[in-house]
Every structure is written in structure tokens, then in C-alpha cells.
Symmetry: C2
Subunit: 221 residues, 2 copies
């Protein structure tokens, strides 16, 4: 699937995912000033080929040299300029069960350009609480809080049966992107981006590949 960018540029979704991986790998490196990195080192840290790394990095508009590699600081800058929005993106999460708490713990305060600003839950026992530094609001306040914080992306950590209704609500409040952990397909208006994280499909796939395929010829991701 290809994503259309400004200036008539395009990038595949897989390439976009890999750029996120490269950045994380670079951020985890302990680096000094003037530190450099070669495509084969990024490749080894992310489980892809060096040629793939070089192809993907062409999209961000910073090229290394075959002898000196990439300057780490400049590469990180270019990756962030490409991946991040100028202003931070405000994110909210709906559902503060085990999964919601895990996601909040995972994502809160990790990326300077992704601000987790609010959580919501239907359970009155959970609202008015603060979970890993994020305030949990009642569903009745959904639109007010989303509008106040100009939330653009919502994470759904709700049961499958509630997912469509919650998705419709956040979209009606102006949310443009949804990351859903609910094991169900969401019907949404065109222009709203939905990405699903599907644990059961992932587990069935691993079980199939580990137990039923003759030879799982895959690149570890």
C-alpha cells in the first residue's frame, strides 16, 4: 500500500514502518559527537538487508557516503523531520483495562512528538484517576476533552463489541486516526486512518508458521 505525500512524493507503508524501526534503533545506540553508522549496522539491528535500509533512507532526503556511513545525529534529525509532524500530535486512549494500562505505560512520555494527553473509560471507578501520569475521564466528557486538547489520534483498547460505537464517537469529535486493539473490523468514513493491532491473528500466524509450514522462509522483523 502506497502513501501519497506532499510534493508528489510517495512511500510504501512497509517502508514507513521500517523508518520508525531505524529511528528507534538509532535512539538506543549510545553515541558520541560525530558518531557515524553504516547501513549494514542499521540493517543488523533491525533484521533487514543493508540495501533495504539504503533504499528506505533515500525517502528522508539524507544520504551517507560509502566510506564514512551516515552521521548519526544528522540521520536522526532527517528521520524525525520526515516522520514527525511540526507540532506534537495529541493522542487519547479509550479503555483503561489491563491492555489500556499497558499501552499507557508503553507510550506515555516516550516520543516528544506524540503526546498522550487523556484516557477515557466507561467504568466510573476508573474515571477521575490518574494512570501512569495520564488522567482518566468519563465517556460523557469525550468530546469536550478531545476538542480541548485538539486530539488527532485515538487508541481503542475496548472490547470488540464496543469498538465501532467508540470509533464513531471519536471520529464525530474530530479524530483523524485510530489505532485499534479490538479484534473487529471498523467501518469509518473515508479520510479516517485505521490501523489494527490484532493479537489473535498474530498468534494464529506464528502457530501456523511454527507448526504447519514446511519451511518458513522469512526475514525476522
Amino acid at each position: 500500500v502506497v502513501v501519497q505525500l506532499t510534493g508528489n512524493k510517495r512511500i510504501s507503508e512497509r517502508s514507513l514502518e521500517r523508518l520508525s524501526l531505524y529511528r528507534r534503533a538509532l535512539l538506543l545506540r549510545t553515541s558520541g559527537t560525530g558518531d557515524s553508522v553504516y547501513s549494514h549496522q542499521i540493517a543488523a539491528a533491525c533484521g533487514v538487508s543493508a540495501a533495504q535500509v539504503r533504499r528506505d533512507l533515500m525517502a528522508v532526503g539524507y544520504s551517507g557516503t560509502p566510506t564514512a556511513g551516515y552521521d548519526v545525529a544528522r540521520l536522526l534529525e532527517s528521520l524525525s523531520a520526515f516522520l514527525d509532524t511540526q507540532d506534537p500530535t495529541s493522542v487519547a486512549i479509550v479503555g483503561v483495562g489491563d491492555l489500556g494500562r499497558a499501552v499507557i505505560n508503553f507510550l506515555a512520555h516516550r516520543r516528544p512528538k506524540l503526546h498522550l494527553v487523556a484516557a477515557f473509560d466507561a467504568d466510573p471507578d476508573k474515571t477521575k484517576r490518574v494512570v501512569h501520569g495520564i488522567r482518566c475521564h468519563a465517556m460523557a466528557d469525550l468530546c469536550d476533552v478531545i476538542t480541548e486538547h485538539a486530539v488527532q489520534v485515538a487508541i481503542l483498547a475496548v472490547p470488540a463489541a464496543a469498538a465501532q460505537e467508540v470509533a464513531d464517537q471519536v471520529v464525530a469529535c474530530g479524530v483523524k486516526g485510530i489505532l485499534s486493539f479490538a479484534p473487529t473490523f471498523l467501518r469509518l468514513p473515508p479520510g479516517v486512518v485505521v490501523e489494527r493491532v490484532d493479537m489473535t491473528v498474530a498468534l494464529e500466524k506464528v502457530a501456523f508458521l511454527a507448526c504447519k509450514s514446511v519451511r518458513a522462509k522469512r526475514t525476522h522483523r
Copy 2:
């Protein structure tokens, strides 16, 4: 990425994932005897095209007819015969924090052919407990329990810093497939299948598509 099957057959990983989705959608249908379903109905429930559904279903060896569609019961049988192993696959999970508990709750007792048989945690306060019906063992008992239950697939819900060591341990005990939620690349011997569920990459992707792309021309999955 193509997976090699017995009898010189092949299937793509994406097709495999979609077959899991189709089965889940069919299982959620309230159906009577002799109930039938058309490819366009499965397509609408899963957010793909009808032609894609028909192509994917060719792999499982049961074809419907243009006039009567697919018999639901026979299609489910064919899908399960294709996707499932003959004997149930034993699964264990390592890490019983918020995420581990969410995964256990998600997966326990959901699929007849995927048996979540044991959990493990490094925290002595968590071991000897039972979480959503699954007993939590100490890490010291990892190999004994994995061997006893013939565990083939392990789910890693541990911090990134611990993931490689835990992966090495479960592989040394005979595990052939790993589903990892840790945001890090795992180096494993050939023949071991690794699937990653990467929340931060998924969130960065949604934020990018919702806020930076001119036109996100994607099929909702």
C-alpha cells in the same frame, strides 16, 4: 513474504492473516443449518475486496458457487483444517504485567486449537498465582514446564531489555515460534519463527498517515 507448505503449495503471509480474519468473521455470524455466505459479505465484514476473498479461499481447497455462495459450516471446516494443526498447539506466555494479563485475558480459552497452558514471571509475588485461569510459574521452572506441556509457541510480554535473553531461553527449551510484544529486534537461530507486535511503530504510522500524508489511500484492515 511467501510461506512454503507441504505438497509444493505456497501461501503469502498476508493471505494467511486474512484467512484468520475470515474465520473470525464467520465465527461471529449467527448462523443456522445450511446457512450460506457470499464472498462479498465476507469482504464487507473484513474490509477487503470480494475478489481478494475468493483468491484467498482458493488456498483452503473449498469453493463456493456463484449462485449459492459458500456453505458456512463447510467453509469454517475447511478454514480450520487449513489453519489449525491436527493436535492443539501449546502456548506459554512470559511476563505477567499489565500487558501479559491483557494478552492472557484475550487469548485464554478462545481458540480450541491454541492452548495457553502456562505463564511465567521473574517477580516472586506473581508466581504461584493463577491469572484468568492460567498458572504463573517462576522463571527457574521455565524449561521443566515447557517440556512437560510440550509448548511450541511462546508469547513474550517482557521489557525490551529482557526480551533477547528470554527468547534464547525458550528456544533452548524447544520453542519453535515466538510472538513478541517487546519493542526490540530478536536474533534467533534459523527455523525459529518470530512475529512482532509493535505498538509504538503502529502508533507512529497512524499519526503520520493521519497528520502528514496528503491522501492515505488505504484499505481499512
